[in-house]
Amino acid sequence: MSKIKLSKISKTYKAGLFKKKVRALTDLSLSVDAGTVYGLIGPNGAGKSTTIRLLLNLSRPDRGTVRIDALPVHESLGAIGYLPENPYLYDHLTLKELLFFAGRATGLATSDIRQLMEHLTATVGLDHVRGKSLRTFSKGMRQRAGLCFALLHDPSLVILDEPMSGLDPLGRKMVCDLILSLKKQGKTIFFCSHILSDIERLCDRIAVLHQGQMVREFTPDEITELRQGKMDLETEFIDVVERNEVHA
Amino acid sequence: MRTLGYRCLWFFLALAILVPLYAYFQSNLWSQRAEAREYLEAGYVVPSQFSRILACGYKGLLSDYQFLRILTFYGSRFAEQQQMVDEDWDYFVASIDVITDLDPYFIDPYVLTEGLLTWDAGRIEDANRLLLKGAVANENNWRLWYYLGFNSFYFMKDYVGGAEYLMIASRVPGSPDYLKTLSSRLAFYGGKTKTALLFLKGMLADTDDALLEKRLKTRLLALEGAVLIEEALVQFRDQQGHLPGSLNELVSSGYLHELPVEPYGGDWLFNKDARVFSTSKFTHR
């Protein structure tokens, strides 16, 4: 069963009040099966962030439909956990207060929130700073706090926008392990990243987005080849992008 | 789609209830404010030491605003035909004081002071204090010195002081020539009605405020009437050797075509010196 289904999505938006319209997505269709890790790669401005915003109901497609669990997006937000690229959290709150907010917003009981929070902060290694205000957090700590915020209500679909950016090798390993354990729990994970090695290691499906269109989707067999070293993701990526550049 | 329809329904239902309610309260509130303002009490003026600070660099703006307030205040008193009571005049003086402290070069408040505070309120000393403040700050404005001089002559009967003020006024570059001789003429007429007539005409020419102009015109009309009667009385006395028993006698014996209208609605009176007054004392009832 498909967890996410985008059918024939087109989206343009205005960059500014008097600026020209920018075409962000053109006839994009993709579907993500439940329980898979889906990686979206593409050069800057390819439409990755726009796709994520459509999934979160932050913006709406001009044409086409977005379905999550076969429901329109505004009805399925409870099933989603989202981590933006540079999470700007409330500065003056403590991590604990932020997570209580996340829990209450998703309708969890106070005792559950406490338990989940303790478990989650321990997993990402922030249990010692729960009572500190987020202002004092380093970039990596913020990223991890953002992960806790996204995952607290145990969502069945996790959307991650550049989850590794700004993390040191240890942090990256931790996030990788977290993604793998989420996958083991049967969750669907949809993420964008520039770090191709992470994508290659973690994803069951990989799609390449370029100028608002899907230009390549790797099959599971191809991904096995990538992992065995018979194919190189970076050359494939550059190749497909350049080939499509000529087309356009 | 079903949920969207329901949402729209709720939205319009809410609007259908809230908008008329808002309309009701909105119009009620504004009519209430209108009512409340009829009994507008003479407000309190923040002393200028504080308002200069509170203005936070917007002293001019604050003075304009305060001036607008005082104009509205006396305008509404006038429109409601309410008497300015003592407290109202206190408020007036305090306001003008603050306005001129905030912006001493703002001339309108001084003109308003001269137009209202002397004739209507009879507060000559307050008026002269304010005018002196303005005259010192605006040395090259002959009008303020001229007002001071007139007040001294006409209201305070201080001929020496008045002559001095007029002298200063006449020395200001650009002042009219008649000021040079005015001092002596005023000294001759002294506190006579004709002095005021001259002055009022001059003042009318300087006024921009419509309400003040209207009031001055009424007063001018009254004074012109009084002068007319005074002249007839003097003529009568010169020819007959005594004053008439009543003013109607002036008309019946042909010295006056008819009695001039008293614009304040009072009755004309005269004393044994042939000075003419009115029961209205030339103020609005």
């Binding site: 700007y88 409330y90 207060e97 | 104009l71 309400l211």
Partner: protein, 272 residues
């Protein structure tokens, strides 16, 4: 729904209380109140009145600073810095977001005003104790009522801030528009009634046209001057219940309509 609104309100409230500018504004208010005690002796007779005046003005001005310097940021910064992406990825409807933010703002302004009210009451009590003969007209009931309406004015302002923040993604623009609305709202009455006087008709060119256009403005911008009961409190003049009721109802309806409008606009908005 209530749970989510409450959760957001609570976060907004806490975020506001921990803003450091709060201390500055509190210091300013306390300074004015202290000044009040000191200068009280300078006045001859109207000392009670001056005290009440200064207290209410301090409360009102501090409230304005709170709304304009901290309140604006509480919502506009969310959108400016994209925190709203995080918040809206939770199952909030856009309307719930608007009401949650508004409730949080009101709680914040209410709590700070309550603290200031305590200080201010203490000041009044001290001055009254120092000069007991000059407080003949003073009544705590009217004083508290006046403070409540100052608060109501700020609540209205919060609704305006939320409304403009729902329109634009720049906190600076919301600040400018909210400030402009406030200035128009507080001076509107003076201008409208001036134009109704016979003098204005003779003096102001196009007074009738101006009067008509201002008539429209009176429907759009709230009359902030109507919430000013400083004069009554200062002189201890009795307040009519019907008068207060109309003012209260006016504020409530204006707020509700404005927030409904804000919700509708906000629901249609897209975030980039």
């Amino acid at each position: 729904m209530i749970g989510r609104i409450w959760a957001l309100a609570l976060v907004t409230f806490k975020e506001g209380l921990r803003d450091r500018s709060l201390y500055g504004i509190f210091l300013f208010a306390l300074f004015v109140l202290g000044l009040n005690v000191l200068v009280a002796g300078f006045f001859m007779r109207d000392l009670g009145k001056v005290t009440v005046d200064m207290n209410l003005s301090a409360l009102s001005f501090a409230g304005l600073l709170l709304v304009f310097f901290i309140g604006i940021n509480l919502m506009a910064k969310d959108i400016d810095k994209k925190t709203i992406h995080l918040v809206l990825s939770k199952p909030f409807s856009r309307g719930e977001y608007i009401w949650g933010k508004f409730t949080g703002l009101v709680m914040f302004v209410g709590a700070t005003q309550l603290v200031l009210l305590v200080f201010s009451s203490a000041t009044v009590a001290v001055v009254r104790w120092m000069y007991p003969n000059f407080f003949a007209g003073f009544s705590w009931g009217i004083f508290i009522t006046a403070v409540f309406f100052v608060f109501l004015q700020h609540v209205l302002l919060c609704a305006i801030v939320v409304f403009f923040s729902s329109l634009t993604s720049s906190s600076f623009i919301s600040l400018i528009f909210s400030l402009a609305s406030y200035i128009v709202g507080i001076t509107l009455e003076e201008v409208v009634f001036y134009l109704r006087t016979p003098t204005a008709n003779e003096e102001v060119a196009g007074a009738e046209f101006l009067q008509r256009s201002l008539e429209v403005v009176t429907w759009l911008v709230p009359n902030f001057a109507a919430f000013d009961f400083k004069l009554e409190a200062a002189h201890g003049l009795a307040l009519e219940f019907s008068h207060l009721g109309v003012t209260f109802g006016y504020a409530c309806l204006y707020i509700m309509l404005l927030l409904i409008l804000a919700s509708v606009i906000f629901s249609r908005r897209e975030f980039n």
